[in-house]
């Protein structure tokens, strides 16, 4: 998923396809003929939903605006409209739903903020998609190394028929430091978010960027920690089933999925 690789034309004005009048990009309806506007390439979920570009959002306001805009855009209300307006309604509703979903969740909210502030996403993938791997964040190297070692031992022990109860206890023990790390990171994300909200309106571009880069680093670590926990959970699950899962599905921690279709014959 590398949409950021593509130069996106930034649009400052929309053109009404009904009457040809110009409209600011955050307008949903044409100021002169009041028809619903085609979406164009928007990009900023905050302004689309009419909420400030903050990380501690007033969730009730977000919900209210979402409902209000849903009532304006939804395809239900364009059944008798022209095909152009029906398309615009579908596009705006889809975009609204995507925007609302992204802003409702604090983590995707930060990811969106990073994207619109011009920082590449936290989880970068190799553009050509050839066997790219997400590297371990330096701050986590120690924990990851210890955990990998412990997991390898647990897998070996399981295959040689060790008592599942004891293995489970070892997994729990392995998980505890990771859980603590996660709590630390959640707290860091929260305090950085607050700092962004307080400082960004008055901050210089460099200062803004510094806060965002810190946020991105913490978020990256946090995602990495979540993956670690998921890996432990999978181990717990295969230990719980009481049978050795077989060496085939031993998971590598650094595995990353490359999205690419199977190549087809030359045309």
């Amino acid at each position: 998923m590398t949409p950021n690789q593509i130069p996106v034309r930034s649009v400052s004005m929309l053109e009404c396809r009904n009457c040809g009048a110009g409209a600011p990009v955050d307008e949903h309806f044409c100021p002169s003929c009041s028809r619903i506007l085609a979406l164009g390439r928007h990009g900023d979920y905050f302004s689309f939903l009419g909420v400030p570009r903050r990380l501690n959002l007033d969730v009730q306001q977000l919900e209210r605006n979402f409902r209000e805009l849903s009532r304006k855009f939804h395809p239900d209300y364009y059944y008798n409209a022209t095909s152009q307006e029906r398309l615009a309604s579908l596009e705006r509703s889809s975009y609204l739903n995507d925007a609302y979903r992204a802003l409702k969740n604090p983590v995707t909210r930060i990811e969106h903020l990073l994207a619109i502030e011009g920082l590449p996403p936290a989880k970068a993938e190799h553009p050509s998609g050839s066997g790219a791997t997400a590297t371990v964040p330096p701050a986590l190297l120690e924990e990851v190394f210890a955990l990998n070692e412990e997991l390898d031992e647990i897998r070996d022990a399981r295959e040689s028929g060790a008592d599942p109860e004891r293995l489970r206890a070892r997994l729990d023990a392995a998980r505890a430091p990771i859980d603590r790390k996660r709590e630390q990171h959640e707290a860091q994300v929260a305090s950085l978010s607050t700092r962004w909200d307080e400082e960004s309106p008055a901050a210089t571009p460099d200062r803004r960027r510094a806060i965002l880069e810190e946020l991105r680093a913490v978020l990256l670590e946090r995602n990495y920690i979540n993956n670690l926990i998921a890996t432990i959970d999978r181990e717990v699950a295969s230990t719980g089933s009481g049978q050795a899962a077989g060496s085939g599905n031993a998971e590598r921690l650094d595995e990353s999925v490359v999205r690419r279709p199977t190549p087809d014959a030359h045309g």
Binding site: M1, T2, P3, Q5, I6, E63, R67, S70, R71, H74, P75, D76, Y77, Y79, N80, T82, S83, L90, E91, S93, S94, Y95, N97, D98, Y100, R101, P127, S128, G129, S130, V257, V258, R259, R260, P261, T262, P263, D264, A265, H266, G267
Partner: protein, 645 residues
């Protein structure tokens, strides 16, 4: 314009409703019965029966009678091997293709069978409107409900059934949310509602938040193979064991019936043979007896299962059954609804105590055990003020009314029940739109090539929650063609997935470096192509009383569609800029206007207007066609010259 109705197309029964003076009402037959059994029977003399009469014929002509066809909608032969072993009709199909049902020497797809039920509902509604003294009584548009947990193929199959029946399907909506609309009408309150819908063949749970008239679905889950049919099956299995104990040679009987089995090999070998008629009749009478017992036990503590004497069982059979015995038999089935409920709550990030109201929908929620389970789940007595059989059709009528009237006091925001993804290297699924995303929803994904000068890419679209493509539902495979030749990895093809308000997917793609729109041929994995639907629609008219005008209208629309497509193809040509220079001043604008006028006409139902405007567009594009043709000829000639050199 004709009338608009809401239709609950159920596994066991179907209903039709409409809004009269702002209030939804179910349309009943002369005897006051709102239910049309979803059963179709093909008599030896060619007559087709639908509804109550067809249901009666389940006993007398089981091998000519099709029921529970909803279970086969949008499915493949490999999905239904288990279900098929109980059926009196034959089922066939190629692996990966749609199912065909063989009955009375003819073959039908599931949407065609459903279309018979829909036509019957349409007929019933039209009769009602005529009796009301309405001048314009034709029913031409409908909102049809589906289980919330239906996948894309099942939704498309339902929409196809509507089209085959000659209905414009305004919207496909989910049964539990339809029910919530019907409830919302007189309550108009706010809060968090859980709709527990256990019908004839499917189970759904939907969690909604209602605020300011917006019905926002937070999450949904379910099981498309869990319902009253399965309860009946459990009871029938139990009865076979009891009959065995009573001395009947059940093994021999079942062996005789099990001559039919699905073996998905080659086309001809896939036909499942029906068992002998008298065995089927006996089996049907057994089913009927246990259904009666099930009903009795909803308000009695004890009942008697009675099987009349027959060739198979000359002495007949009687057995008492208590409610607690019944409940211990069906307990495992009812328990299967618990996990989807837990999942739906988790997906909505809610606890059972957060639910303000629980609503019961579907005939199977009449069973006291089910009610106790739901009460236990949410810690409150569930609502069932509205008839659980009728509430879905009422909600569908409300939604139909919203669509055509433009009333805005209520809005339904539903979700897609299953994640949508594509197959990536190694057979792994990469999710593009997550389950429980509010619809309409869209997603985009970038593709590139793996080899130099590759001009096409295969894309496999899947639906489901599992990691591997093999474990998910295949929706479609398509090829992105016309990628400009470039070194491997350089093309940037953006594929856009759009789930509309019906929960149905469409796909489009653009190569971003060149801006070239890609051609996409989507081959639905288990569905019908548009052409097949159209053909079935025409055949449907031949079978039923021929509605000549509608048929002519469809033909006029088809012809108009062809001209529209051809014109748009011209306008989309990459070299259109050059062509345009050779057009006369104002010519392009005239073409555009004529094209739009024809499109507007197509969406209406005035056949003469369509034909007139088709003609006009043909005329307006004559010169454009000539210019394009000349250009193509010139290009072809230059191409040959190059080759000859």
């Amino acid at each position: 314009m004709g009338k608009v109705v809401g239709i609950d197309l159920g596994t066991t029964n179907s209903l039709v409703a409409y809004v009269r003076d702002g209030v939804p009402v179910v349309i009943r037959d002369a005897a006051g019965d709102p239910l049309v059994p979803s059963v179709v029977s093909f008599a030896a003399d060619g007559q087709i029966f639908v509804g109550r009469e067809a249901q009666r014929r389940l006993l007398t002509e089981p091998s000519r009678t099709v029921y529970s066809v909803k279970r086969f909608m949008g499915r493949g032969i490999e999905d239904i091997a288990n279900d098929a072993s109980h059926l009196p009709f034959t089922v066939a199909g190629d692996p990966g293709g749609a199912i065909r049902i063989g009955v009375s020497g003819r073959e039908f797809t599931p949407p065609e069978i459903s279309a018979f039920v829909l036509r019957e509902l349409k007929r019933r509604a039209e009769e009602h409107f005529r009796d009301q003294g309405e001048f314009d009584f034709e029913v031409d548009r409908a909102v049809i409900t589906v289980p919330a947990y239906f996948n894309d193929a099942q939704r498309k199959a339902t929409r196809d059934a509507g089209k085959i029946a000659g209905l414009e399907v305004l919207r496909i909506i989910n049964e539990p949310t339809a029910a919530s609309l019907a409830y919302g009408l007189d309550k108009r309150n706010r809060g968090t509602v859980a709709v527990y819908d256990l019908g004839g063949g499917t189970f759904d749970i939907s969690i909604l938040r209602i605020e300011d008239g917006v019905f926002e679905v937070l999450s949904t889950n379910g099981d498309t193979r869990l319902g009253g049919d399965d309860i009946d099956d459990v009871l029938v299995q139990f009865m076979w064991r009891e009959l065995q104990r009573a001395g009947l040679d059940v093994q021999a009987l079942l062996a005789a019936m099990r001559e039919f089995r699905v073996t998905p090999k080659t086309t001809s070998a896939n036909v499942v043979q029906a068992a002998p008629e008298r065995l089927l009749s006996f089996s049907a009478s057994l089913t009927k007896a246990v259904i009666q017992a099930k009903w009795d036990l909803s308000d009695q503590d004890e009942t008697e299962i009675r099987i009349e004497a027959s060739e198979v069982l000359p002495a007949g059979y009687r057995r008492r059954m208590t409610r607690s015995e019944f409940e211990s038999l069906i307990h495992p089935l009812v328990d299967r609804t618990l996990e989807p409920v837990r999942q739906a709550l988790a997906d909505a990030s809610l606890l059972p105590k957060d639910i303000d109201e629980a609503v019961l929908v579907g005939g199977s929620t009449r069973i006291p055990l089910v009610r106790r389970q739901v009460e236990g789940l949410f810690g409150r007595r569930p609502h069932s003020d509205l008839n659980p059989d009728e509430v879905v059709a009422l909600g569908a009528a409300v939604q139909a009314d919203i669509l055509v009237s433009g009333r805005r006091e209520m809005l339904l925001l539903d979700v897609t029940p299953l994640s949508l993804g594509i197959e990536t290297m190694g057979g792994v699924v990469s999710k593009i739109i997550l389950r429980n995303s509010t619809i309409p929803a869209s997603g985009r994904e970038m593709f590139t090539t793996g080899v130099d000068n590759q001009t096409s890419v295969d894309v496999h679209v899947l639906q489901g929650e599992r990691e591997l493509a093999a474990d998910c539902r295949s929706l479609a495979r398509f090829k992105l063609r016309g990628i400009p030749p470039m070194p491997a990895g350089l093309p940037r093809i953006e594929v856009r997935f759009q789930i509309d308000a019906d929960g149905i997917l469409t796909v489009s793609a653009t190569e971003l470096r060149t801006g070239i729109e890609q051609q996409i041929e989507v081959k639905p994995s288990y569905g019908l192509t548009d052409q097949e639907v159209e053909r079935m629609l025409l055949e449907g008219f031949e079978h039923a009383e021929a509605d000549f005008d509608t048929r002519l209208l469809i033909e006029a629309r088809n012809e108009a569609d062809q001209v529209v497509t051809a014109t748009e193809k011209h306008l989309r040509r990459t070299d259109f800029g050059d062509i345009e220079q050779q057009l006369l001043p104002g010519e392009l604008q005239r073409i555009d206007e004529t094209l739009q006028a024809l499109k507007d006409a197509i969406s209406g139902s005035d056949r003469e207007l369509i034909q007139q405007r088709t003609h006009a567009l043909n005329h307006a594009t004559q010169h454009l066609a000539e210019v394009t043709m000349n250009r193509s000829i010139r290009e072809a000639l230059t191409g040959r010259n190059v080759k000859e050199m």
